[in-house]
Amino acid sequence: MSDNGLSRRQYLSTVGGTAVAVSLAGCFGGGGGDGGATEITAGTAPGFPPFEMKQDGELVGFDIDLLEAVVDETDYTLAGWEEFEFKSLIPALTNENIDVVAAGMTINDERDETIDFTDPYYSSNQAIVVREDGDFSPESMSDLSGRPVGAQKGTTGESTVQSELIEPGNLDESNYNSYGNYVLAVEDLQNGNIDAVVIDEPVAQTFAAQRPVTIAFTYETGENFGFGVREGDDEFTQALNDGLSAVRDGNTYQDLTNKWFGQQ
């Protein structure tokens, strides 16, 4: 559903082109906005439990609570949340629709070229999820050879499948199924159309708690999630980093991980 007919390449060039246009517009606009206006708007992409999702029409999740706690520690106030599709978040940030992204976004070089990140606030590895009652229980990436495997389009799970399985020749391209979102991938796993799904570990734990699926093993990728901020917004980035360490030093961070991930 979130796949709306554009290939990844077309999409990137469209959005990339837009981003260039927007940055140029920013130069002419005089930008800044440091005139005492300290209200900020946050953006997220619901559908990534337990980091952000909609429950009974309300936006909830770990990222939501954490960012609100972090902003509370700064001189800024949070005006509200805007919801986008995940892939629209970076254009929304560069275009000043939002001021900060809190969406379980992995810090990577590609994104770092367009936007800045705060210090990491969560580390995630990839989990390999299989059916609970199935007889397939892989222990390493090489065990996935020749099995139909799924992941969500555009995520680090997909990158892991690409770099660890397809590129080394351990998995045929045709054995990889790409989904618009995790839920459909897990649904297909339950239906028996694929044998494993590669997803972020905390998300996998949520699925394992609620559905007849289980984590076979985890693959260490050393991914870090960070809040996304506009490039050059250094004062704000520093404030968020200070807020983050204040939240980590107190009990808040621990309370929130307990609340959203169970005991960790």
Binding site: N4, V15, G47, S88, L184, E187
Partner: protein, 226 residues
Amino acid sequence: MPPLPLQSDWAFVAGNLDLLLAGTGVTVGLTAASILLGFLLGFPAGAVEVYGRGPLKRAVETAGVVLRGTPLLVIIILLFFGLSVSSSAFVTATIALGLRSAAYQSQIFRGALQSVDEGQLEAARAVGMGRLQAIRSVVVPQALRRSVPGFQNEFTIVLKDTSIAIVIGLGELLTVGQNLYQGGQSTAALEIFLTVSLIYFVLTFVTNRSLDYVDDRFSIPGGERA
């Protein structure tokens, strides 16, 4: 292969029907506003393409070709993130859908206007009407009647294409549906898709029936049926 998990989660859908209906409200509002904008721009554009000449005609034709040839997703993304026509996702989506619909509607009306026999215009002129008055009083009323079937199609297209507004986060029907099953509480993906499809179907069916009624009501008495 095990059967599809159809039995489980209808209660979840029922419990969240109020959210789905709120999303339906946004969808209906977005469709109505877009169709209206499309009509206000598309009808004159169609008329210009039939009766206009010179630079105005060429400009309208070019705009139509560009809008019809650009994917709606690209139009929405450019208007929101590129030109930033409005900070409101609803307004931006209305403009994007409205412009695209205007380009389609202009062709519906162009075809309808051209379908009215040339002799009618000549006859109207012969009884002393001016060109503009002849078009307005003789050609347009007939053309509007003949454009109803094409307009029914256009309505259906706009209604379903409102779902593309999900890319700028607008909380219309499909977005609400996706948010529900992605919320981590439910496995009801299939049930929600079926419910959302049913709502789209009801909206399309009711509107098409209403337009059928309009078509019958205003058909030319005793004359040829459009």
